[in-house]
């Protein structure tokens, strides 16, 4: 065996706190290691070239690269050695940057640790075996989960690229949060005016199949071959018959149903079409409010419906969609108002959230675009906006910035002035965050042209005084207490992960962070990929994002899918479980524990019963290997002997 070891300086990142030359010198002493060197930037082109040259010149057959995390560059170096004629699995990486040089302060200890890490990698690489991928067919259909602006963009880009798209939307209409906004910053475009045509494009695109009011029940399979069970929730209206005429909604006797679309700013009917531009424009019954369901009698809509679309007996329907990739664009949620007792939110009708104010501003909203405060439907003259309502507050579990509130507050303040010229808006803020193109100019316009008063400080309490709401806070610039008597208070509530985000991640086998936002493959370089091959992210499900960023990610995710689908066949990861039929005793405990049902029983020609791995289904977790008592089923590249070699390298030296 001829192992070559390459120790990367990573500039000063590693060499600063690890004596790389000494590590290389120690490696030269190891049997099997015939070449060890250190290099400034091993991942650079000349660095990779050096590896290739050394493989040829020194006749190396196994390579250890000690550098950054394998999560960063394992693939890079696998390709490098492959180009030099070695099997890609003859590479091992020792992570001496993230796990050593960056976290330890003592150079001597770091160096000793690096020596161990590389020694472990050498021990392991000597046990490595060449592995070969097999290829399998890709189902070139893509599923987009979430019909907000990010999901719509992704769906349209994929469909325009010729892919069949299945778009799944949880609510009765696509459009997401953007469909609810009045105008968009910093251009003050009408939100639905720019979104509406896109929604129609989605509805009319022959390559897009839309499942509205549907949820994901189960996802099975792997990249190229997912099977997704979609639950089409019962609407109690046969959408093949419903024309969206709205007659039912008009005649519905229940007038106090909660309006999800308007975030409860005003009630709606028990049967409703969420908004005029809804896609699909179909009615749906809310059984929590419908008298037919709560009282067992009514039937008004059924009588009134001209096409006989009402069906009170309707059940959820499960459909299975086979797709090759999934784009997740499930958006975000908003911080629960009840968590601000000191702001009286939820208790005082005139303390509302930013999104509710959007609906009040919106011409198709419950007030038809007139600014009327919820308590008495009068026009407010003094309006206070409270930014960071929850955001950047560790004690509330939201230490992060919600990204776009500063901007929409400025927009809402400007719009308020447009609607009510004699009004005065105040904004309590921590910092103004306006880094986008034209954004800072926009917040300045609010202050300079629209006379919005920005007060730097936090609001401590909001309480009623007669018809007014007293907003008490600090002005940290002046160092004084301030009190503003407001007619309406708008809280810029924190952006949180979408309800059920964690459960969705679990179905998708992707990671999510402490806050429920999905984790991308790399924060810089793989922003729309996930660690699960074939699953991509778009929009605010990954973290708070404004419209342009969401749209950009939608397109990015679509292009990733296009790239993935540009091949007819995909290469499988050969690091999967393999059965040694000589050693297998056929107890089939692995069949019980495999999370993917990737193992089945097989009868050999001599009648012996053994386990068999279904290669395309095995995901390479290795649960079977640690289940098998006789070591007969081994996860390739992470076999018992390979891991024992590492253990022994540490423990026995």
């Amino acid at each position: 065996m001829r192992v070559g070891v390459f120790i990367c300086h990573c500039g000063n990142n590693i060499a600063g706190t690890v004596d790389v030359a000494r590590v290389a010198a120690e490696m030269r002493k190891l049997p099997g290691v015939v070449y060890a060197t250190n290099y400034m930037y091993t991942c650079s082109e000349p660095g990779q070239e050096e590896i290739k040259q050394a493989i040829k010149k020194e006749n190396l057959d196994r390579i250890v690269v000690a550098a950054c995390s394998p999560r960063m560059h394992e693939n890079t170096f696998r390709k490098t050695i492959e180009k030099a004629g070695l099997n890609r699995y003859f590479l091992e990486m020792a992570n001496i940057r993230e796990h050593i040089s960056w976290i330890g302060e003592d150079k001597e200890l770091n160096t000793a640790k690096a020596i161990d890490a590389v020694k472990m990698a050498v021990a392991k690489v000597m046990k490595n075996k060449p592995l070969y991928s097999s290829s399998f067919k890709v189902n070139k259909r893509v599923m987009v989960i979430g019909g907000g602006v990010a999901g719509m963009q992704a769906a349209l880009d994929c469909a325009d690229g010729g892919l069949d798209v299945v778009l799944v939307e949880k609510s009765p209409s696509i459009g997401g949060m953007m469909a609810r906004l009045d105008k968009t910053f910093p251009t003050i475009d009408c939100s639905i005016c720019i979104l509406g045509p896109k929604m129609v494009d989605v509805a009319q695109h022959e390559k897009i199949k839309l499942h509205a009011y549907s949820e994901i029940d189960e996802i099975k399979g792997y990249v190229g071959n997912y099977q997704v069970k979609v639950r089409k929730k019962a609407t109690y209206v046969d959408w093949t018959k419903c024309t969206g005429c709205g007659a039912c909604m008009e005649k519905c006797p229940t007038r106090n149903a909660y309006d999800n679309f308007n975030f409860g700013v005003a009630p709606t009917r028990a049967i409703n079409i969420p908004f005029p531009q809804a896609i699909p424009k179909k009615a749906k019954i809310d059984p929590a409010f419908c008298r037919q369901f709560t009282k067992g009698k009514c039937g008004v809509c059924a009588k009134i419906c001209p096409t006989g679309a009402i069906n009170y007996e309707m059940q959820d329907e499960i459909v299975t969609e086979d797709v090759g990739a999934i784009i997740v664009a499930t958006g975000y949620g908003l911080f629960d108002l009840d968590k601000f007792p000191e702001y009286g939110a939820g208790r005082y009708p005139d303390v509302i959230t930013g999104i509710q104010y959007e609906r009040i501003l919106n011409a198709s909203g419950p007030t038809s675009g007139h600014i009327l405060r919820p308590s008495d439907q009068t026009e407010p003259k003094t309006i206070v906006f409270v930014s960071c309502a929850g955001s950047r507050d560790k004690s509330l579990g939201v230490p992060y910035c919600s990204n776009f509130c500063c901007m929409y507050i400025a927009k809402q303040a400007i719009l308020t002035k447009d609607h009510v010229p004699d009004s005065q808006s105040y904004v309590f803020y921590m910092d103004i965050r306006s880094p986008g193109k034209g954004y800072d100019e926009f917040t300045r316009r609010a202050q300079e042209d629209y006379g919005v008063k920005y007060i730097r400080g936090r609001v401590s309490r909001i309480y009623p005084k007669g018809k007014k709401m007293v907003v008490r806070g600090a002005d940290t610039l002046l160092g004084t207490q301030v009190e503003v008597e407001a007619d309406l208070v708008v809280l810029a509530t924190a952006v949180v992960s979408a309800p059920g985000a964690a459960g969705m991640a679990e179905k998708l086998h992707i990671s999510y962070d402490t806050f429920g936002f999905y984790v991308e493959s790399h924060p810089k370089l793989r922003p729309v990929e996930t660690n699960t091959s074939g699953v991509f992210l778009a929009g605010a499900c990954q973290g708070p994002k404004d419209i342009p960023a969401s749209v950009g990610q939608g397109s990015a995710a679509a292009s990733k899918v296009q790239a993935l689908f540009s091949k007819d066949m995909l290469e499988s990861d050969p690091a999967i479980a393999q059965v040694n039929t000589n050693a297998c005793v056929g107890c089939l405990k692995c069949v019980r524990t495999c999370p993917f049902q990737a193992i089945k029983e097989e009868e050999l020609r001599n009648g012996k019963k053994v386990a068999k791995v279904i290669e395309t289904v095995c995901a390479g977790c290795g649960v079977c290997t640690s289940t098998c008592p006789c070591g007969a089923i081994q996860l390739q590249h992470f076999t018992d002997n390979q891991l024992l070699a590492e253990v022994n390298a540490i423990c026995q030296g």
């Binding site: 000589n582 005793v585 289940t627 008592p629 006789c630 070591g631």
Partner: protein
Amino acid sequence: MNNAEQIKETIARIFPDVETVICYQQGFDGLHATPYFISIPEQVNKLIWNPLCAQNLTSYLPSIKKKVGIVVKGCDSRTIIQYLQEGLIDRAKVVIIGVPCTGVISVKKVLREIGHQPVVDVVFDDNGNIVVKTQKGEKRLAIADVCPDKCTTCQYPTPLVYDHLIGEPIASNKPKEDVYKDIREFDAKTLEEKRAYWEKEFERCIRCYACRNACPMCICQDSCIAETREPHWISQRLSLQEKFMFHMIHAAHLAGRCVECGECERVCPMDIPVAKLKKKINAEMKELFNYETGVNPDDKPPMYTFNVDEAKIKEHKL
């Protein structure tokens, strides 16, 4: 003995439905019973049934492909149930002759009592005693005093599964809470004491693998990782470390599977209390998952399943 006659009758009846019946015959001396494979009914006359019939015969079942009859005691029947849980035998291919048991004999304990003398004769009286005659005289021992430890806390004297039951079922008269009493007592020792104890015991191990091969749940047998190089868990050195590792492998692989038949301990030529490790794990399985091996064929062995929320597993704090 009455039971012996009944067993013989039953065996005669189940031929030729079965090809073989596994029961006991007299071993090389009066103190030993040995497994007896009967393939024609006439052989049944050499069958014996007495408290020397301690061995758990069910170990042979998974390797036998043809239809087989077997004589089982209460404790042995747990193995069969565990096999069923794990799908290791086909119930339709086993005819179980269950015999309620009031306790068997530990030959090791008897030998200790008689000073390891060769026995001349062994008889059982009607009062639960074994009378052992040697060159140096006669010794009358209460079976209860020379039974294996497992009998002292036996909860299942009557087989839990059978096709034919010999005699009347017996209920256990041993308190359930005592089953793991020995484990609790041992656990109360200091870490140093426990470590020293095991090192002293395992040092004697000669790696003959009798404990493993006699274990009904050691299904790997020829593929046991204690002997393979691929994977290579332990070396051929005879160090304490290797012996310790072997016994940990044995214990870990029996986690939630050991039926506490005590075969491993019974057969150990070096008198190592190997069953204790497994019993400790069983005690934990009971505590963690309320799981008891070999009592319900529909149970799932706890190491091959999970609950999303584990009621008894708390996250460990540092």
